[in-house]
């Protein structure tokens, strides 16, 4: 017997996503990543695993990197969310996006949005600058199967330097 729509528990979700106020309804169990992808059509945020390991779904919630598969859409209600679609301004790539391109830090592109969102947050949290070991350690929550991370690490170091933080040389 199919339930009538009013019998389904639907939650109201109100967010600011990439600077725009959005609202919608979702089942209680809806994850933030699915709300972004399915309700808002922001398909740049990807789902690569079921266990919050791969990091393809990383977005920023109130300025901090969050795996959007670890959060219910209703939990994010009231927050400001930035996705990969929201970091290039006026058609200009974010310096981290530019660095990934210049260093060939992406191949198939599937992990890329999460990698970039994690990297932006990493650079923000390390105003003293970054070295290779720190970048590798900080990328623990993001899996890439294509690049072997070599060029991703180069891209993050370069972006950190160009964003005016000045990379600390590896010991």
């Amino acid at each position: 017997m199919t339930k009538a729509f009013w019998e389904e528990p639907m939650a109201k979700v109100e967010l600011v996503v990439n600077g725009r106020a959005v609202k919608g309804e979702a089942e209680d169990r809806t994850l933030l990543v699915h709300f972004l992808r399915e309700n808002l059509g922001l398909t740049g945020t990807h789902v690569g695993c079921d266990t919050s390991q791969c990091g393809a779904c990383v977005v920023h919630v109130d300025g901090r990197a969050v795996k959007s598969c670890t959060m219910l859409a209703v939990q994010a209600s009231g927050a400001e969310v930035t996705t990969i679609e929201g970091i290039a301004l006026n058609g200009e790539l974010h310096p981290v996006q530019t660095a990934f391109r210049e260093h060939h830090g992406l191949q198939c592109g599937f992990c890329t949005p999460g990698m970039i969102m994690s990297s932006v947050d990493m650079i923000r949290r390390h105003p003293e600058g970054l070295d290779e070991a720190t970048v590798r350690a900080e990328l623990e929550g993001n899996i890439c199967r294509c690049t072997g991370y070599h060029n991703i690490v180069q891209a993050v170091l370069d972006a950190s330097e160009k964003m005016g933080k000045g990379a600390v040389k590896a010991a």
Binding site: D50, E85, L93, Q107, L139, E140, C144, C146
Partner: protein
């Protein structure tokens, strides 16, 4: 070479969409009325299905349909097949068991699909899948190929008695036995190649849409070869005739082989779309990928190599048991045979080789090609046994290899392959120099002073790419030809579209293929577009795998460009009133060489379409198609050196340097090639150190998520020191050998040679986890 032409480090044209979240993967596709599917899968590794009840599931909220194998069979959908026929040494054909896209009476591995549930949302489909009642009668289970061959082992398929699919051999058994009889030294090695799960970051997905008005199907799917998918689904699975089936592989998030094959899910989604009257989308969750994507490797090998008193190799004997899992996947039979044993000569002049391969059914996921496919297994056997022999013979591993290198080309090996070009000393020298091989003992001593075990290992691999000459593979049992096609369309304003049957899922074809036309016609990259991945747009193609897109796919583009250039020159000669032989195309102009008579490229293109003034009898237009069928395989080769430092207290291995010197022939874009090597190395190092696939005795996959299967993370890997040498490939017009798989082929033996050197214990299997390394250190004490 222009700034955007062949050999240029051009940044990728495709990057912007991936960087900004505008990539379009199968899961991003939405079509009107689309519904969501969840597969009901066997929780048992081997069982009889004694009953299926869908009644309760059909009453669940949002459910549109619940379909089973019985209905699928009734609609005439065919069984999945393996497309490469191998004959046993006694001449009998391989024994292929039936594989229905939805199991009807028996399930043979955990994850075997039994039913599909279609509902309004994925959540509802998942809930309803739980309500499908399937009664199973459990049967005995076998997961190890070696165990499956033993008398009395559980029988997986009635068609393959004793679980033996084929018992195949290659080479000269008697000549090899004679060589061993003359040997001054024989080295023996028992060696396993661990089962791997490919783990492209984008899980497999399919969206099937049936249009009843047109009686036409469209399938969006995560495929490395959409045309092959259409061909197989039409010709063998009776989904729909080719003209009524469009297959689109949009952006695909990595493949590594696992997205070559046609799986049950895309077939069932298409069929279910017709049955339910709605477009049906299925997206694998990660555990589903672990359970059901074709796995790689899983060989158990006994190998022996014979040397004369001067340390020259006399012969090689190899016996391999290969686990093909519960069903024969599309190319499964070719991987442990013609992609494996034909490479056992490596870089060495080996007068006699004999290899025997037995392939076996077990109650595990199907096993098929994974990055390297057979060639990593061959390299691992040969390069581990060479290093082992060097230790036994107390000769430098580099010297033993050098003493046996092939130096005259072409070289016919005893196992089919005819190497056409190479310089193995060059890659060995380059990597030894870059790694400061000579200075290693000093570093070992220094590390010992800090209580660390330091080791160094090398691997000199060769592989066969550019797959493959159609007649040759046809004679060896392939069900298809392995040519590639291309169409080069010059538009009326001079912009260019290149349609290719190759498929890019990370390799950067939209850039490198465009570089070919930029070089040839002097047109800016921005004016060149690459069209691929859609059977409605691109003529027939064979897709991307086996490092074939450069050597085969690009060669087809070159052939089509040759025809375009010839026609453009004819038109220009006519317009400029010059001899065709004097026309050259340079810097975007078509001109009479040595004069100032010239036409801009676009004007020649325009003239071909206005057709107001063409040479007499010439057809209008400037668009040509070509098919390129290679005349030989290509043979990338190289030398990798790995240096490790091990903490004897914890068994933890740290790679302190990794050097890779590769000969890929001509390189179109060094940046892309480097990226391919980096990724291959990560997968090979992952195999050697981290990645283990474990089934328990009841056939449950214990490593079915990223919580349990160790994917290489950034911290697990070093920065790589890579370089290339170049001997152009003589068999294709660009001199390309291919670079996609080398890293994964050459690196596992280098890592294992380094670790076993450090711990002075050669008995260590992959993955060399800290626990295993620690135990091996204790055993060696």
């Amino acid at each position: 070479m222009g700034v955007e032409g062949i050999g240029s480090r051009v940044l990728r044209k495709e990057d912007k969409r991936f960087l900004t979240g505008k990539g379009r993967y199968t899961d991003d596709m939405v079509v009107p009325g689309m519904k969501h599917a969840v597969f009901v899968r066997s929780p048992h590794a081997h069982a009889k299905i004694t009953g299926i009840s869908t009644g309760a599931a059909l009453k669940m909220p949002g459910v549109i349909g619940v379909l089973t194998g019985k209905e699928l069979k009734a609609d005439g959908i065919g069984n999945l097949i393996c497309g490469w026929m191998i004959q046993s040494k006694d001449g009998t054909p391989m024994k292929m068991g039936a594989w229905s896209p939805l199991a009807t009476d028996t399930v043979r591995y955990v994850g075997d699909a039994v039913a599909i549930v279609v509902a309004d949302t994925k959540g509802e489909a998942r809930d309803a899948a739980e309500a499908v009642e399937i009664a199973y009668e459990e049967l005995p289970v076998v997961v190890s190929a070696v165990e499956a061959l033993k008398p009395g082992a559980p029988q997986v398929h009635p068609e393959a008695p004793g679980n033996l699919i084929f018992d195949w051999d290659i080479g000269d058994e008697k000549a090899t036995a004679d060589a061993f009889a003359r040997a001054a030294h024989v080295t023996t090695l028992d060696i396993d190649n661990n089962r791997l799960v490919p783990n492209a970051m984008e899980p497999r997905a399919a969206l099937g849409q049936y249009d009843a008005a047109e009686d036409h199907y469209t399938c969006w799917t995560t495929s490395q070869n959409p045309h092959v998918a259409r061909l197989v689904m039409s010709a063998f699975y009776n989904v729909a005739p080719e003209n009524k089936l469009r297959v689109i592989a949009p952006d695909v998030g990595g493949g590594f082989g696992s997205k070559i094959f046609i799986y049950p899910e895309e077939i069932v989604c298409l069929w279910a779309s017709k049955k339910t009257g709605v477009p049906v989308k299925w997206v694998a969750d990660r555990t589903e990928s672990f359970l059901c994507d074709a796995h790689g490797r899983d060989h158990a090998t006994h190998a022996q190599i014979a040397f004369d008193k001067d340390h020259k190799i006399l012969g090689l004997k190899v016996e391999t048991i290969a686990n093909l899992g519960a069903y024969m996947s599309l190319f499964s039979s070719s991987v442990p045979t013609y992609l494996y044993a034909t490479l056992l000569s490596g870089q060495y002049d080996i007068p006699a080789i004999h290899a025997n391969v037995k392939t076996v059914y077990t109650n595990t996921a199907p096993v098929d090609a994974y990055r390297g496919a057979g060639r990593p297994e061959a390299s691992y056997v040969l390069e581990r046994i060479m290093e082992t022999a060097a230790r036994e013979l107390k000769i430098s591993p580099a010297e033993l290899r050098r003493r046996n290198f092939i130096r005259a080309f072409p070289h016919q090996t005893p196992v089919i392959m005819a190497y056409d070009a190479g310089d193995f000393d060059a890659t060995l020298d380059a990597s030894m120099k870059a790694a400061d091989y000579a200075g290693f003992e000093k570093r070992r001593t220094e590390a010992a002073g800090r209580g660390k075990l330091r080791g160094i290992g090398m691997s000199c691999y060769i592989e066969a790419c550019g797959i493959a000459p159609s007649a040759a593979v046809g004679a060896l049992g392939a069900g298809v030809g392995l040519w590639e096609s291309a169409e080069v369309r010059v538009n009326a304003v001079g912009t260019i579209e290149i349609l290719t049957g190759s498929h890019s899922h990370g390799q950067g074809h939209e850039t490198t293929f465009a570089q070919l036309a930029a070089e040839r016609f002097g047109v800016p990259l921005d004016s060149i577009s690459i069209v691929h991945g859609d059977t409605d747009k691109v003529q027939m193609g064979m897709g991307t795998y086996g490092s074939r897109s450069g050597a085969v796919g690009m060669s087809a583009v070159v052939k089509a460009m040759d025809k375009v250039e010839a026609k453009a020159k004819k038109i220009a000669a006519h317009l400029l009133e010059a001899d065709e032989a004097d026309i050259e195309i340079k810097d975007g102009n078509v001109r009479v060489a040595g004069t100032d008579k010239s036409l801009p490229w676009f004007q020649v293109a325009l003239a071909s379409y206005t057709a107001h003034n063409l040479p007499s009898g010439m057809e209008p237009g400037l668009k040509e198609t070509a098919f390129y069928d290679p005349s030989n395989f290509t043979f990338p080769a190289g030398c990798y050196i790995c240096e490790v430092e091990i903490d004897p207290e914890t068994g933890t291995t740290k790679i302190v340097q990794f050097v890779a010197a590769d000969d890929f022939g001509k390189i179109i874009n060094p940046m892309i090639v480097e990226g391919q090597v980096h990724g291959g190395l990560a997968q090979g190092i992952g195999q050697a150190l981290l990645e283990g696939t474990h089934y328990d005795e009841s056939g449950q996959l214990l490593t079915a998520s990223y919580m349990d299967y160790t994917m290489p993370r950034a911290q697990d890997l070093p920065s790589f020191n890579i370089m290339t040498t170049e001997t152009p490939c003589p068999s294709n017009p660009l001199g390309i050998k291919g670079c996609g798989e080398a890293g994964a082929i050459g690196s596992p033996p280098a890592v294992m040679n380094a670790i076993t050197d450090a711990i002075r214990n050669n008995s260590l299997s992959m993955p060399a986890t800290p626990q295993k390394v620690w135990a091996a250190i204790q055993a060696a004490k």
